[in-house]
Subunit: 431 residues, 2 copies
Amino acid sequence: MILGDLHGRPGDASPEPTAFLDEVAARYPDAVSFASGRPAERHFDLDAVHRYLRRFERYLADERGYTDEEIRRTLCQYGRVKGVMHELVARHLWQDVRVEADPEAVVVTAGCQEAIFLVLRALRADDRDVALAVSPTHAGFTGAARLVDMPVLPVAAGTAGVDLDELAAQVRAARRDGLRPRVCHVMPDFANPSGASMDLATRQALLDLAEREDILLLEDDPYGLFHSGGTKAPALKALDTRARVVYLGSFSATVLPGARVGYVLADQPVAGGSFADRLAEIKSMVTVNTSPIAQAVVGGKLLEHGCSLELATTGERQTYQRNLYQLVDGLHARFADDPDITWNTPAGGFFLVMTVPFEVDDELLEYSAREHGVLWTPMRHFYGDGGGNRQLRLSFSGVDSRGIEIGLDRLAAFLTDPAVRLGRPASLLPG
Amino acid sequence: MILGDLHGRPGDASPEPTAFLDEVAARYPDAVSFASGRPAERHFDLDAVHRYLRRFERYLADERGYTDEEIRRTLCQYGRVKGVMHELVARHLWQDVRVEADPEAVVVTAGCQEAIFLVLRALRADDRDVALAVSPTHAGFTGAARLVDMPVLPVAAGTAGVDLDELAAQVRAARRDGLRPRVCHVMPDFANPSGASMDLATRQALLDLAEREDILLLEDDPYGLFHSGGTKAPALKALDTRARVVYLGSFSATVLPGARVGYVLADQPVAGGSFADRLAEIKSMVTVNTSPIAQAVVGGKLLEHGCSLELATTGERQTYQRNLYQLVDGLHARFADDPDITWNTPAGGFFLVMTVPFEVDDELLEYSAREHGVLWTPMRHFYGDGGGNRQLRLSFSGVDSRGIEIGLDRLAAFLTDPAVRLGRPASLLPG
């Protein structure tokens, strides 16, 4: 039968894994969810969507000198493959990331996921090409790599956010095997799923390594603006003097996921232009161009704040910071005396990781949802090689203060449930 | 150098070929363009975009019973991979295409191009898999096939819109060579680029052939509503009792290209659901989901017209019909006495094809733009195997009445230009 053999299932490697997790969440709608890494909905504003659209129209008229006809054409017609808000992306990159970006090297994409896909599609020329990724790895990267049949070699995060010795060793071993390691995926700030960040020295050493070993770095930065105060090391791209970094940006957490607008800055020179031009050629075969209506919504919010998303997201930043503190304080209050339960304290972002003295898997998650009313994500979903078996990811972005308190109590009940604590297989737990 | 070898350039196989054609158009902004297959801009209305958004919000409240919070979540948050306007797509399919569609078998995509990509990505499991396509072929199909490294075997259009004997022969030859022919791309109504349509008997025979030879048909139907009166044969999908047809829909010509919303109806059963579910798994790795803001804009226009796009696009249909008649009448007035110049008369759509007594290529197009101020598309771009050398595509969708008249005069001057008519290589034409 013609539909009997399809391209390998991406399986549980969706940007927010997995179909199974969604299904558990749907079956237990009253469970508190520390599983979903979605932005807080209290900041959504549908009236603002209309206002942003109008603001972008005014920008086209006032700053670009467009006629009404040109404005209509820009927003309604087929248009520039690389996008129509590229100038605003470049201003934002300077304001918020201290990156001087050529707007022509920006490709605005249908969400950051498309940007990941385009980069991997371009770099996977034949079956010698492989990618690397800090492990645990954002599932959207693993999934896109699978779509282009590109293996991903894991590199341990270690204590610095990336184990540089292992990265170099992986690159060299791959070359010895006749493979071409092309790119390493990194999330230097508040990584998904680990919550880890890299310090400045690690970033500089990573850039040196990329130059020495001749690989690209794919810097994935959806959470960089959601730091919990203090000083943050510059983005890799802000330190990149040798065009080793392809930078991925998302407007999902900062503006709204429903716009599905992200971008990639790819200023590497290639024959006849920049790497961005090659990505745009591929994009023209995938989505043609990113909805200019959606770009206008995002562009309007940028314009309302002088293109600074740092300014535009003060409310969001407070929400995530407060949630992080409340979660960490609550964990401390409940588990400080339990030496077998530990967690990290990220400096921002959406996620932290707990380590527990027993194996956690999807079955145990279902037990947790059913018996204790609390959801989280088994970390094993983010490892390609069997790691994370005794770890779970807690997301604090989409819950409110009351939810966190209730969720913490339920988590405590789950983690001290004798049936769980004995470490027996989840299938043998009471039903 | 790490960027020295990238995935094969899609080359000139973009949905509207090519980068070169865009460049020529940009260099000669005063040229009349019969090259671009873009929708007429006179029907764009930015105020309506806001109205459509509000209309979709009301639909969620009134028909779906959503609370304000649920409406905000639906439009602003991450959401259902298969889309949030699937019920409206199903209603439209019944109203306009006489297809009874299960909304769960619809995947709303970031433009129809993404739908093509998803289908080919799913069907290309390994390097034995090949596609077929009626030739000349929509460049978006060829380009997407190249992105997934899937060869496309051309099938002549013949006089019926598809040469059924050749299709069967190609399928059998491919199987003898150890290949797996999976799907044949067809545009039964007013095809891009040929303008050709299939009659009812051909459609029925094509469906029988697909069943007999065990292949899928990918029915690509962006122009079906733009018939010039008269009776139109039903869509293949409306005749499909054996789930052989995967149906592609576009809202670019009917609502607006700037929304970038299309869809695929894929109701073929596969293990654990329908083919649509497998396409959604892939989509979650490409764009995650289609912007619900963009879907709401399209959904709002559907709702304003009881989900009938036939009713919603009476103005557009008149425009395209009038343009077609004016172009065909104008060609007749100018070239009826020239036996070496012929053209077809499509029953609708955006395109017709002229045959001329000399070779046409990109260089000759540039000469036409420079010396005569008129643009068209060399048909050779739509052939994988060297056809169409003496043909050019004229698009009548994006020009207005005055533009058509001026363009026709310029086309006549170009086609009777002695330097052109002598058939010498374009590089030797006067500069």
